[in-house]
Amino acid sequence: MKYLPLVWSSLFRRKIRTLFTLLSIVIAFVLFNYLSAVSVAFSMGVEVAGSDRLMLIHKVSFIQLLPESYQTRILAVDGVDHVTHATWFGGVYQDPRNFFAQFAVEPEGYLELYPEFMLPDDAKERWYRNRTGAVVGRTLADRFDWEVGDRIPLQGTIWRTESGDTWEFTIDGIYDGAEQGTDTTQFLFHYDYLAEANSQGRGFVGWYHLRVDDPSRAVQIGETIDRQFANSPYETKTSTEQAFVQAFASQIGDIGTMMTAIMIAVLFTILLVTANTMGQSVRERTSELAVLKTLGFTDGGVLSLVLVESILIAVVGGTIGLGLSWMIIQQGDPTGGFLPAFFVPPEDLVLGAGLTLFLGVASGVLPGVQAVRLKIVDALRRT
């Protein structure tokens, strides 16, 4: 500790260089956090998918509808604990650019299956009773400044009412996510409203969500269900929610991977440049270090002085960078609410912290060792 002033003064020896090195590190770690948020976004929240939940869709593609009558048949399959369905509505709120997902669901059944959608009890009651009611996620409500009680008109694109085009909904509640990655951008409303008011009649739903009592048998149960509907006009494809989300995410394809790869390359470029600059500042002071050794500093002492300096600058820069980007990312994703999951997972923050330490050590150790190996006489002669 008593050498702190020494470290301090060497850091301030070239204020501008220290400042810019620090800023480079800040930028590198802002990028790092941003990178992990982007890759989370492109994986579409696969981390938060439930392991005991399955998705059942039409085998040919998920845009094809399935008979409503499948519900009881699925529930009869051994190991299936709960079944509910959802239907894509695809309505437009004011302008097609205001895109968000709307699902027609069975309110009680859906919330039972998704306990991570947290809704106050009074809101639940209100919604269950109100056929034209809807509940929306917190992120979505914030995006359009919606409050409970607001009336929301949605223009039907796929689904038309008998009379005209606009569907009216009342917001009965705003749900919060139990976890960081929970999708709070959904708009949920009664399937009964859709089924009764649309011009095509009822009897069909988009897909089924089901829960099994034993997650380890999930895949097997899925196969049993698919076998049951094989060779019917509506063949099915059941997969675990995780596998479904993963497949959906991989539809976006290499773009996510590519961006991640690019950003990793860049991160390392910046770190390389920074480490080099830091190393250089040590090399410049060769003669000073030699003086210190003349004064009786041990090799270990000189090495730790250099290391403390480089670690200090890396950790300070890294902390500012991680903190700053965390604040930026809290503001939401750069596409204006289109990527539902946009956050930095805690383990990446830990990794980032580890990386700052690594940067500090890596950039200090080489010049540090050079300084240790230095023969005092040679070093002093060099000036």
């Binding site: 845009i63 694109t157 539809q251 590519m258 961006m259 204006g336």
Partner: protein, 396 residues
């Protein structure tokens, strides 16, 4: 004035000749800028490639007609009578086989991606024979057109490359039918190449669509006819339709994906640019510091401050441009022509495209590099010019 130029040229020559002595930090600065430019060009080449497919798709004299308020073909539904009314509307070009308008179905079918083996939503389009007259860019490159009334399909070149089971002669079981690939077509690299085509009349029963369609693609007499065509259809009380130019339609259909790519890309490129400028500033300060004596000597000999400034800026800009050129080259070598497919959220279907590094992008990359270099060199250059000569010389 002439004297000033001579001075400046001399100093620039001097500093460039001494550049090898400062090779280490200079190379690091070049690497930093190279990294930025590679990323910048790579990310924009994704957007560029996507644009080439979606935005440049379609021609201004082609109109797409869908049910009113449906916004996308996938959501639309048109009754047979409506499609007839649309085809017969004034302004639709008439060829030897009647109006050049094709009533179409647009559905999605799950097909595994070759690269990952996971299911992807591939668009399957049911067409009428006029489709080939409406989309003149489409031509068969392998095999032949499908025979009307059969379960034969033709596949776009890009779709055939990206998805499994879509090569000539292969058969696919989708739902209750088996579809055989009898032809591969190209369409100047536009969106159609991501699609599978078949006879609309065969697709209707296979997807239980009765006699309905989803859109009508109509070739107009000329691009100017569009407005009167649109007015005629929207004024017709028997129809509830929205009419768009094909070009506008594809452009709006891709706005979100383009927004995401450019949104994220811009943030990344800007952040990295700032990082690289910091790196360049450090390098140039360092360069000035090591040349303190030299610069002071020159100043003592009567060289002007401004010529020193220019020389530092030139060095910095040169390093940056070298980085920019290398970066552009690396990006071109690594990414140009890379074929991939992504999902267009607005249509839920796959769009195959190719990363495209255009000369304009390379120029942008180099310009960006130059800007970073000038910015990075600015403050060090000012410092070099302000160097107190006497102290600097005493510093020996």
């Amino acid at each position: 004035m002439l004297r000033w130029f001579q001075q400046t040229a001399t100093i620039i020559g001097l500093s460039l000749r001494s550049l090898p002595q400062r090779a280490g930090p200079s190379i690091v600065a070049v690497i930093g800028i190279t990294g930025v430019v590679v990323t910048f060009v790579a990310v924009l080449s994704i957007a560029e490639g996507f644009n080439a497919v979606m935005v440049n798709a379609g021609s201004p004299d082609t109109a797409i007609v869908m049910r009113g308020g449906s916004n996308a073909e996938l959501n639309s539904a048109l009754a047979l009578e409506s499609t007839r009314l649309i085809s017969e509307a004034p302004g639709v070009r008439r060829g030897d086989n009647g109006p050049q308008a094709s009533a179409e179905l647009f559905v999605i079918v799950n097909i595994p991606k070759k690269s990952t083996g996971t299911d992807a939503n591939v668009p399957l389009r049911g067409i009428q024979s006029a489709a080939f007259e409406v989309r003149q860019e489409v031509h068969i490159v392998e095999g032949r057109r499908f025979t009307a009334g059969t379960n034969e399909i033709i596949v776009g070149r890009a779709a055939s490359n990206q998805f499994a089971g879509l090569e000539l002669g292969q058969a696919n079981r989708w739902g209750e039918n088996t579809w055989t690939v009898v032809g591969i077509f190209e369409a100047d690299g536009t969106i159609s190449e991501s699609e599978i085509w078949c006879d609309a009349a065969v697709l209707q029963p296979a997807y239980r669509r009765g006699s309905t369609f989803q859109s009508v693609m109509a070739k107009l007499d000329s691009p100017e006819t569009f407005q009167s065509f649109k007015d005629a259809l929207t004024a017709d009380p028997r129809l509830d339709v929205q009419v768009e130019r094909e070009t506008d339609y594809y452009s709006s259909q891709s706005s979100q994906v383009r927004g995401i790519i450019t949104g994220i890309g811009t943030v990344i490129a800007a952040l990295m640019g700032v990082g690289a400028v910091f790196g360049a500033i450090n390098t140039m300060y360092n360069a000035v510091a090591t040349r303190t004596r030299e610069i002071a000597t020159l100043r003592a000999l009567g060289f002007s401050g401004s010529s020193v400034v220019v020389s530092v800026l030139v060095e910095s800009a040169l390093l940056a441009v070298i980085g920019g050129v290398i970066g552009g080259g690396v990006a071109y070598a690594a990414f140009h022509g890379y074929q991939t497919a992504t999902m267009n959220f607005q249509t839920f279907s796959q769009v195959a495209f190719t990363f495209t590094v255009t000369p304009a992008l390379l120029l942008q990359g180099a310009t960006y590099a130059l800007a970073m270099g000038l910015l990075g060199g600015f403050f060090p250059a000012i410092r070099a010019a302000r160097l107190p000569i006497v102290t600097a010389l005493r510093d020996l």
